[in-house]
Symmetry: C2
């Protein structure tokens, strides 16, 4: 390893660090009335607009492993997972607030990397960082992001709006982020056993990218506007398809039939699942961290999505009594269970 | 210690825990359009209102010590410190979002205690908990709170509005929270040396209360409305009077003369300072965590505050060239320095 420059955070102090990290911010949105530097941030939206706000905390050793997650990617991802929640309301993210706690093992340069990723996400998605704080931790890195966005009241899509006979759709493909994680953890184990062996991620850039640098589906929300399509319910896929379907069913008081053959899974993910002796469908159902949008639409809107390569119709909503079930390729019926990403990971 | 009921968090799971912690919420404000249970929360304020948002993270071992901070008080305080930031903008807090990461050493009952404090603060200050998440940590407890509030644009008070010749005022008294902390830490050391000795906090309920269960100055903001008084600049005292004065001066491009004899210090705090061989003024200047409001007003508004026991005029603003200085009782002049609470604490 090269002898890299290391500036101790103590040389800047807390206020110095905040200034250092935020002095180049240029607010992008007219609604960002007051950003970093006061007690709180002020935003003002147009009349008729509603403010959407969401928050997520990422803890080192629980949500990420710095052995294979570059800090820049981590900063990017910590923003994206929050924006994904705003999009899942059919809203437009406008502002974020970021709080970070760090132990003294992190240098200013490390924080620069983290914020480089944060600002890259801000630029990509057109949001403003308007506040936050940094503090110490005894051990490890903790990142808490709050995102705020706007939507006209009549555009907001909740989890609770699905009805019987509606179509269940999902954007993109599922399971890749989880398989990317499996690959990264395998290479980490190999490296820990023999540090001379370099990680072999060749040909796996798609699934590794899905894990390390996920994107939120801004494009799908924009597509809805172009298509004049308003989903009846929506949620983003963070814990796994199965868990999210159960949320929609629970809050909409419906059942659901999910068809295994319709679940979109990328070829690279499928191949990696076989390498790991995992069922690709199980990875899609329980893997999580895909940050795709799962939503329901009225049957009359089917024409608007049927030929779109970014959207798959994967099932239909039924009455609550019928429950939420998976119809397998071999036509067996299994109830969906909320295994979730963390539980799966600990197997 | 009694054999208390302990329910492992694993028996509820993440979603079960969130439901358990939030199922009794009753939204208080019409502007809370959608609370816990969807991807994000939705708020809508009246036309002409601006949304104020602020966030703080509290980390075990850094910001609090569970050896002497009851979880209920911690929950209460974690909300109050954020509301204090909204009041410091002359705004009215309306909603909070709380994210918590916990290690498996915490039980459901422990989380209940924490949230009992959170909800007590919500009730006291009329705010709604509208979202958040809980996750695991490898070690310790981390709490991140985001508060949102509203204010008419023309009512918002920034740090940057102070002008030469204006009066510098502060609510309540200063230094007590710091001295309460000193006392709690002394009793902790005594207890660790000999666990048979029970903490002696007798006659110290004021300073201990100021540390463990601070209040935000909602009453002062309401008083401003009653008095038809708008401060020209304002900040809450979280890091210590000295540091906050320097923030006002820096952002307003002014200097300041602070008079030692005018700094409000409670008798109990003064007595404890002498016990610890500390200078009470130094405790007020650098102690922090008082959550009082420091603000400037035009001289023509002096009549409105001069007889109010909750407000002290402690100095006046000068030109930037004159710097921010303390005039001691013996008429010496010292430049104010931003020692800050954390630095002080580590002495």
């Amino acid at each position: 390893m090269e002898n890299q420059l290391r500036t101790e955070i103590t040389t800047l102090g807390e206020f110095g660090l905040i200034k250092h990290l935020t002095e180049n911010i240029q607010l992008q949105n007219p609604s960002s009335k007051l950003g970093v530097g006061d007690d709180a941030a002020v935003i003002q939206y147009d009349e008729g607009m509603q403010t959407i706000v969401t928050s997520d905390m990422l803890v080192e050793g629980i949500h990420f492993d710095l052995m294979y997650v570059p800090l820049k990617h981590l900063g990017y991802k910590s923003v994206v997972v929050n924006l994904s929640d705003i999009y899942a309301m059919n809203g437009t993210p406008r502002q974020i607030i970021v709080s970070v706690a760090i132990s003294n093992r992190f240098s200013v340069e490390a924080m620069d990397d983290l914020y480089e990723g944060i600002y890259a996400a801000c630029k990509r998605y057109g949001v403003d960082l308007i506040g936050g704080d940094t503090s110490s931790s005894n051990k490890g890195l903790i990142i808490s992001v709050t995102a705020l966005g706007e939507a006209r009241e009549e555009r907001i899509v909740k989890r609770s709006g699905a009805k019987e006979n509606e179509l269940l759709c999902v954007s993109g493909d599922l399971g890749s982020a989880f398989l990317g994680l499996q690959l990264l953890e395998r290479e980490k184990r190999i490296y820990l056993e023999n540090p001379k062996i370099q990680p072999n991620l060749e040909g796996q850039s798609y699934i590794v990218g899905r894990q390390l640098k996920p994107e939120a589906r801004k494009d799908i929300i924009e597509l809805f506007q172009t298509l004049e399509l308003k989903p009846t319910s929506m949620i983003d896929v963070s814990d796994g398809l199965s868990s999210e379907i159960l949320h929609l069913c629970d809050q909409s008081q419906t059942g659901c039939r999910l068809y295994e053959e319709k679940i979109p899974i990328a070829e690279e993910a499928r191949a990696m699942a076989f390498q790991f002796n995992l069922d690709p469908t199980t990875c899609a159902l329980n893997g999580g961290e895909d940050y795709e949008l799962l939503f329901t639409i009225d049957q009359s809107d089917y024409e608007k999505v049927k030929n779109n390569p970014d959207i798959s119709v994967i099932g239909n909503m039924t009455s609550k009594e019928k429950g939420a079930v998976l119809i397998t390729r071999s036509n067996n019926i299994y109830p969906l269970t909320a295994q979730g990403w963390n539980a799966f990971r600990n197997n």
